[in-house]
Symmetry: C2
Subunit: 604 residues, 2 copies
Amino acid sequence: MKWEGNEYVVDVEVEAIHRRPGFAADIHDQKADSRERGSAFCLVDGPADSTNAMKPSAPKIALHQANPLIADVVGAMRSIRTAAVQAAAAGATLMVCPELAAIGGYPPRDLLERRYLVEAQWQAVNELAKDLPLPVVLGCVEPLEPGLGPDIANAVAVLDGGQVTATYHKRLLPTYDVFDERRYFRPGMTPAVVTIAGLRVGLTVCEDIWNEAFVGGSLGLGLRYHQDPVGDLAGQCDLIVNCSASPYHLGKSATRRRVVGAAARRARCPIAYANQVGGQDELLFDGDSGVALTDGRWLAGLGRWQEGVAIIDLAGTPQVEFPQPVEADLHAALVAGIRDYCRKTGQTKVVLGLSGGIDSALVAALAVDALGPDAVTGLLMPGPYSSAGSVNDAVALAEALGLRHHILGISEANRLMLGTLEPVFVGTPFGLAEENLQSRLRGVLVMAVANKLGAMALTTGNKSELATGYCTIYGDMNGGLAPIGDLYKTRIWALSRHLNAVAGRERIPVASIDKAPSAELRENQTDQDSLPPYDELDRILTGFLEAGLSPDELITRGEDPATVRRIIRLVEVTEFKRRQSAPVLRVSTKAFGVGRRIPIARKF
Amino acid sequence: MKWEGNEYVVDVEVEAIHRRPGFAADIHDQKADSRERGSAFCLVDGPADSTNAMKPSAPKIALHQANPLIADVVGAMRSIRTAAVQAAAAGATLMVCPELAAIGGYPPRDLLERRYLVEAQWQAVNELAKDLPLPVVLGCVEPLEPGLGPDIANAVAVLDGGQVTATYHKRLLPTYDVFDERRYFRPGMTPAVVTIAGLRVGLTVCEDIWNEAFVGGSLGLGLRYHQDPVGDLAGQCDLIVNCSASPYHLGKSATRRRVVGAAARRARCPIAYANQVGGQDELLFDGDSGVALTDGRWLAGLGRWQEGVAIIDLAGTPQVEFPQPVEADLHAALVAGIRDYCRKTGQTKVVLGLSGGIDSALVAALAVDALGPDAVTGLLMPGPYSSAGSVNDAVALAEALGLRHHILGISEANRLMLGTLEPVFVGTPFGLAEENLQSRLRGVLVMAVANKLGAMALTTGNKSELATGYCTIYGDMNGGLAPIGDLYKTRIWALSRHLNAVAGRERIPVASIDKAPSAELRENQTDQDSLPPYDELDRILTGFLEAGLSPDELITRGEDPATVRRIIRLVEVTEFKRRQSAPVLRVSTKAFGVGRRIPIARKF
């Protein structure tokens, strides 16, 4: 190992350590099987290097925790260059950027099929290389010669000494849950180690270090791949970089640190991990860039949900605790999601209906935290079955949050529409049509105000409702974003109490938290007329949706058979509503939306 | 080759011809490159066998052109068994079923992640084997031992002599457009030839015979794969079977016959091709099962869009012409799509708004053809800017089609809602908010009637509108299915004229076809106030969406630069609407929906 202080040295060579056919199962099966029997932390070959190798002349690594805009190549280049100048000034040896940073972040989805966009980005990367004050390892899309398979790679480029000196192609392409990388990318087949500033640097992209076959098989995430990018680099490098776009869900940070730490131990060198931050449609990225040392301990960067450049001294003090409590974490995630969705779609204002209930109260509070109270308009739309308490609670909420609100009743319009519908409705009893009508008239008002103000409507439905179809399509489902669509009702209550506790006051009226939930679409209605108690409902839904349990398994675990069957049937027959849902900010391992693909027409 | 007449013989052996690592590019690249230089029909090794080999004692092959229901394993088993009895009675040697037939057809999507469903299906396949009157080659999901990669295969099982005697795993897993097979399946690595009734039968599944690297590279469909399932079977078989679920688009049948024929020539044996038929959510399957003879000529089965069992005598007369004209083909496809979506989601009635315009008129006619006039309710909902002509045209349509209709005006409700909105709208000019309000009030009425009748709403938007966002979300976009959402406006006119020509009368009023399209949401409005002429618009959209042309390429082809930029920008900024669209019946190579995945938040 040779160090050159803070000077960076143009001294690059690409070493293709060895070639292996990628999916040759026969070669790797035995190896993988033998590894599976160990746990993640038993895979270190020999004792961990407790000196962490690089003291006292250890380098500083810059991690660009970027919050880019998909397809904004010009913006990405500007942001990377600014970050590089900052990193060089702080004495960093090299800077690592997230996965696909050059094309404006992850996931570009079918924009990757636009060859002209990919080529423009690639040209921009080559231009950028000419004007950088330190070596940069950059996630990008590399156009390949047309041939077998897709003709682009999910790549990292090494920008050093005025040019692109090496590229590496992601080998493990996730194609589960929200990921579709086999749709777009030709997989890489070979590892790459590049000498940068005297360091032997191994290149990896995100999933390359997540092969479950080598982290004990207990994550319940990702797949067991034939290739072993970490194993291939073991003992070959002074440092591994990992360009990531690793989406957030509750608990992800702890899992991630465990995985990156285990990989560092297996590879017997530190791993510099640069992750995207911010919201991109339904996906949230928490950042959390840092360095896992050879013994698996974690050197934290900027932390989570912040954009910027972290300069990490490899001789620094590892972080022992991971302090973020669940509700604070969720709050930060949802605020980032609302803020970025609005910013990245050009929205500056939002509108939502305030029912006096807890869901709309929580969404209003999150929107205020994301955009400020002046950007949020609440509509109180009492109807024939609204209680006086509901209007009072909604007014109290609007005042507590300092947001503009209007009271626009629907009773008159409801009466008139029922009159219009008389030729069809005559002689029929009050039912779902009449309930939905009220919700849809409110939906019309929300959209009318949104259109008039040039604002976006937010939906206020939670995951328990969305799962069971306890919501009105083209009514309360109207909106451009569903901020709490991945939170079960029980979580809504906890998060609301947390917000009040943090504020030390009733930002969300306690009355809204404590009262029995009701849609108030008929006389004396409560949610529990149609649904089991929320703790029971949410337990069944979590088991079915997140854990993938069958009805029989749920019953074996002690759930009531009739309730299980009824709830699962509700989930299955209401898929058509979710197909038309606004994007749901994803905070669980299995959210409704792009990561869950269920046919509508099917045997129930 | 040995024939046993119409008796089937239990005489099975699996021959693993040879093993190859699947993605070992280095092994196959050279071979693929040399093949690419030829065209599809130049790849035959030696002259085609003009005697077609099997006369005079050629066997009969039964092809089960099934229209199954996803996840309906019991129904699938019943249907397969009934078909097998029919096939045996007709003297067939063996029966071939479509891809994934055992689990209720294609695509089961994330239901494949339910292990309990997969296991139940596998058990049913093994039960079915015990009670069949002839050998059956059946598409199914085979559960695999947990290991590296996904733990199921897209398989074919040979059911013969009372048991499952062999299985084969699909080797080429499509992961583009509407396909996600890498998400679910572990790819097969080896070819399989099984002796069934004395015939050496090569097993393949759908994409296995679509490797573009070997069909001249000119299809513009699918991918160039490293593996060559057809080449591996060449000269090894008396017959290849292909279990397919090959979705329809305009022109697909001709492409398919070309591909299957080219594969038969390369393999030097006939290919028995069994395809699914009918609608499954947005996907349409046209069936068109048949046999490609060794010289590439086609023995047709039931034809298209029909469910049933085709018995094909390999000594029969090949079909020379492919006669279906475009409009008749489209009509059959859309009628099947509406009928099957309704049947498979349990709907028996539909409701739609009739504006007097051509789009709603065409959807009404298609719905009547799919479900009968008694199942269709039309709503005329004149508003403040509706012309008398529009109401008259809509009434004429309803009478010509014999469907029930109601006239439910929105002017009064519109006035009342504008009054309700006065606190927000005061002092602002008439604009988009006021236009959308009318569309949304109509949407409320359509949904209210749908809920009251227990019917499903159909949307009436076309692809030109959906592409440019010239439609109102939660207004005219309300509905469970978008039957003509993949048809450009110019196609709508042609199809409407075709329906009248076939009927020999004005099923669709000529006035609706001939008048200038208008949303009638403000005074004297026409579509061309906001959009270029439809022929120009549709040409630009086709180039951008289907052909994947860049703005520069469109301009180079002679399109007006300002119009190109304006239209593409409209497409890009309205993605949020399409994300919440009803499923669009897919009739083109690139429909809005599951096959086109574009981020909402992005640089425009």
